[in-house]
């Protein structure tokens, strides 16, 4: 008798766990793949751009919504940089600078990025202007 009840209990919890997983997993995947529609639009329009230091910046004056979204993402980026920097035995600044190099290299034509002199440029078909420190 007690074995039967336990089994029933296990079954129910298994089904429940399965249902929860099914609910949670797609949500997690969705948040991992889509950054933020606000930022995606701002990036495409040039309201935000990639800075040399590995964070998002504003070539002009952004809307309050865009500024908030970018600041929020920058905080998340910094936490991630700190994690990776610790794993690589380096400083957050050095890791962030390397990310800036690679993120600027990956900008698409029309998007904004920061040149080594601090000025904002629009990415064209040619390679972006990057610091001499950046790897080829």
């Amino acid at each position: 008798m007690t074995g039967l009840i336990e089994r029933k209990h296990n079954w129910r919890s298994l089904v429940l766990a399965g249902a929860m997983l099914g609910l949670v997993l797609p949500a997690a995947q969705a948040s991992a793949q889509v950054a933020s529609p606000v930022l995606a639009a701002a990036r495409a329009s040039g309201e935000v751009g990639e800075k040399t230091d590995g964070y998002l910046g504003f070539p002009g004056t952004p809307s309050a919504e865009v500024r908030r979204a970018a600041d929020e993402l920058n905080i998340k980026r910094r936490a991630y940089y700190a994690e990776r920097a610790a794993a690589q035995n380096t400083t957050v600044e050095a890791y962030a600078l390397t990310m800036g190099c690679q993120l600027i290299a990956k900008t698409k034509p029309g998007e904004k990025y920061q040149a080594p002199d601090g000025s904002w440029r629009t990415r064209g078909a040619e390679a972006p202007l990057r610091s001499n420190l950046c790897p080829a």
């Binding site: 991992a32 793949q33 390397t98 190099c101 993120l103």
Partner: protein
């Protein structure tokens, strides 16, 4: 014999310390001192100038660039992996 020895000793003892007391030698001694002082002063002045005008700033910057470039090159592969792994942070 004893007198002879004494005079010899007296001459030796008297002669050497008296040499510096002669006027000609004193001048050369003084000039030697001034030459030494000028040399010393010049050396300290020169060394002072060099240490003050030493171009230590550019050297430090070059060193920093070398270290950082090395670090950035080492981290580049991991940075690319990060971009792939976290599209929520680095994607569009």
């Amino acid at each position: 014999m004893i007198a002879n020895e004494l005079t010899w000793r007296a001459r030796f003892a008297k002669h050497l310390p008296m040499q510096d007391q002669q006027s000609g030698n004193r001048r050369s001694h003084a000039s030697r001192v001034t030459v030494l002082a000028v040399l010393l002063g010049g050396a300290t002045a020169l060394s002072g100038c060099v240490s003050v005008k030493a171009p230590d700033k550019p050297i430090v910057i070059e060193l920093n660039i070398n270290i950082k470039q090395e670090v950035v090159y080492r981290l580049a592969a991991d940075a690319n992996k990060s971009i792939e792994a976290r599209p929520d942070l680095f994607g569009n």
